[in-house]
């Protein structure tokens, strides 16, 4: 039972299979491109938690970030909540609106969540899940970024990061203000 070079080649034959399986880690089978990209965003009207009404059509001409969240979505929604609030504060003076759509939740839990993260951007429930169905929401959280013409420019699955948000918002605004700088400015003002 000696190991010759020729014999060594036999075990090596399993390597291609292993490499192929390892390649699988680089891909995400859930990352299927959304058919809604570049299409007109489905219109919706939202009754906000503070009683106001919000209609997507009225926001035409602004960059709109629509975020689907729920208070039970641990940890992704908890990770992105401060990011969304910070982006709202950074961009609220520059034609950007962030809209939170609360999905499959109880009002009490949703309000508690909003208090915890000091949400100041418009948020409202989607009691029958109609909006999330129109947007093809598969899991929570998902974030859609709409351009000034009301088309869906970008869809993000999972917790959204500050970099992703500012990159797409800046692109759609056609300018390059740094979110970090804006936030600092905001803090100085208060």
């Amino acid at each position: 039972m000696t190991l010759t070079w020729k014999k060594l080649l036999v075990p090596l034959s399993v390597l291609p299979v292993l490499f192929l399986l390892a390649y699988g880690f680089r891909t995400d089978p859930r990352q299927v491109p959304s058919p809604l990209i570049e299409k007109e965003a489905p219109p919706f009207a939202l009754t906000l938690f503070d009683g106001e009404h919000l209609s997507l059509e009225k926001l035409r001409g602004k960059v709109v970030v629509v975020n689907f969240w729920a208070s039970w979505c641990v940890p992704a929604c908890y990770e992105e909540a401060p990011v969304l609030e910070a982006a709202w504060r950074a961009y609220r003076d520059s034609d950007v609106v962030i809209v939170g759509v609360n999905v499959q939740d109880t009002e009490e839990a949703a309000r508690e969540f909003m208090r915890r993260f000091e949400f100041s951007f418009p948020n409202g429930p989607d009691p029958r899940g109609k909006i999330s169905i129109d947007y093809g929401v598969y899991g929570i959280p998902e974030t859609f970024i709409l351009d000034k013409e009301g088309r869906i420019a970008y869809k993000h699955i999972g917790a959204v990061t500050a970099e992703t948000l500012s990159e797409h918002i800046n692109r759609l605004l056609g300018e390059a203000p740094r979110m970090e700088d804006r936030r600092k400015g905001h803090e100085r003002k208060t």
């Binding site: 039972m1 075990p11 399993v14 390892a22 859930r30 999330s132």
Partner: protein, 656 residues
Amino acid sequence: MTADLGNIALWIALVVAVYGAVAAIVGHRQGRPALLDSAYNGVLVHCALVTMALLSLEYALITSDFSIQYVVFNSSRNYPVWYKIAGLWGALEGSLLLWAWMQAVLAALVVLLYWRKHLAFLPYVIAVLMGISAFFVLVMLIPANPFTQHFPVPLEGRGLNPLLEDTSMLVHPLLLYSGYVGFTVPYAFAMAALITGRLSAEWLYITRRWAVTAWMFLTAGIIYGGWWSYHVLGWGGYWAWDPVENASFMPWLAGTAYIHSVMTQEKRGMLKVWNLALISLTFALVIFGTFLTRSGILTSVHAFTQGAVGYFFLALLAVILLSTVTLLTLRADQLKTEGTVDSVLSRESAFLFNNLLLITFCFTLFLGTIFPLLAEAVRGVKVSVGAPYFNYVAGPIALGLLFLMGVGPVIPWRGGSWGGLGRNLLGPGVVGLAAGATAFVLGIRGPSVVATYAVAVFVAAIAVQEYYRGIRARRKTAGEGPLRALGQLFARNRRRYGGLVVHLGVALLAIGIASSSTFQVQREQMLKKGEALEAGSYRVRFDGITGSRGPTHVKVQGIFTVFNDRHEAGQMTPALRFYPRQQEPIAEVDYWIGFWEDLYVILGSFDREGNWAVIKVMVNPMVSWIWMGGAIMVLGTLLALWPARFRSAAVRGERS
């Protein structure tokens, strides 16, 4: 507190497992019996420690201890105690703990059963088993710790995935895991045989029962999974060629090939390398399946959440494949076959063809399962391989296997004459052809269905003929009554006659699958109150909607009155269950199971006032044959496994 206990138990279990593996080999190599004994004891201690970890998590689940994250995500205060217990295998971390525990119990069983026996093999067997155990414990300690703490402690848990809230949750995973884990024992002995160079059939004899038992659990687990899918998922089917289903079916195919081909080595000293390769393949496929379900590289309705666990399982798979293939290559010279296939018309050639088909089947499944990955790697496109591909390739192979299953048991070893074979096959062949012709006359035209009926009936007829002949022979020679003769047949050749029962079960299963997949009737319609829908001989009338509150959900039931051939047959109440944390409601099917056909009703959507409802009605022919076939397969395996001594003692007792 509970979490600390669990973690500490796991850490010590890891150390003990590694110690056991090393001590077994060192003790054996250096001829130190005391060290070897301590390795044996190590296996038992490891088992006790993993049991402690398992009980810790169960305790936390039962007492709703939400300081442990796993309990938060997989349990709820509202659950009945059974679901709390089943939460253990409801998600990744806990299922690994269950697996590790079964692995530990198995190793302990091996040590207790073979204490001071098979001394040439056992040190290596212990080393392999403890190596596998150490791996599972390591995975739980690093990427998938079931005892991770959760802060702040919530008041209520999130509960299991609602689809898992079913009594099947208490059965199916346990059966399946028992099958998976069971194959590690024959694999460990195969490795021991390769390492020590003791390559006679000894390791086969020792592990025969282990392999057949594992096969039985895997069979039962897969078929029970089909039943779960059928009565819970509400799409009217039992098998979807989902990657995870394939992941359980591939080791089954390889394992089936193995338990057949070992007979060739026992009787003729042939296929030695092949048998070692087959059991290794079976085990590698078990780990491959675990990797698939837990790595997130493919989408599947059954997949667990992903994470670093995938890298660990891929590493294990790499170690298994590389080490096994290297060992096989090194030992290839010593694995020269003793016998040769003397004739095409021999039992050994039938087994060869059977193996060829089973492995082709397995490879086809493997290819279809990983093809999306391959396509993306090579061409960068997303493709999916669905049921049509699998149905297309599986049909002919399955039919070929079915045919061999009939012929195999009646061809003698070493070869028989055409005349002898003709005598054995004539009767069953005629019966099978007659069944096919009857089906044709009754108006059944699909060639694959008619062929399946003919071959399945042929297989069943062979089994019946062999029983009849055996009983007749015993009545002549021993003058026994028919029942006693039947008992004696089993007592004297349990493997053969148990095996024939299994074949009979497969024949029923084949008929059930062919019928239900070909002749399903399906109707979907919106019904106003009082309106009815017709499907087959049934009329289903919509009478209204009622609501009720379950422990974890709100349930809306549709009330339907069913008429069969104009006679009122009863009421059916399919429902939708609404969970506060699920986007989509979950359908609760209502079904009537019958010998010839099942009526299966699904509520699609409804009006809150109860004025209308959308329903889907299916008439699924002969699905129950699948469950009966599965039960008979398990029964046959049990008959084949029945301990010899016990049996003959009973026979002696009868006589005295």
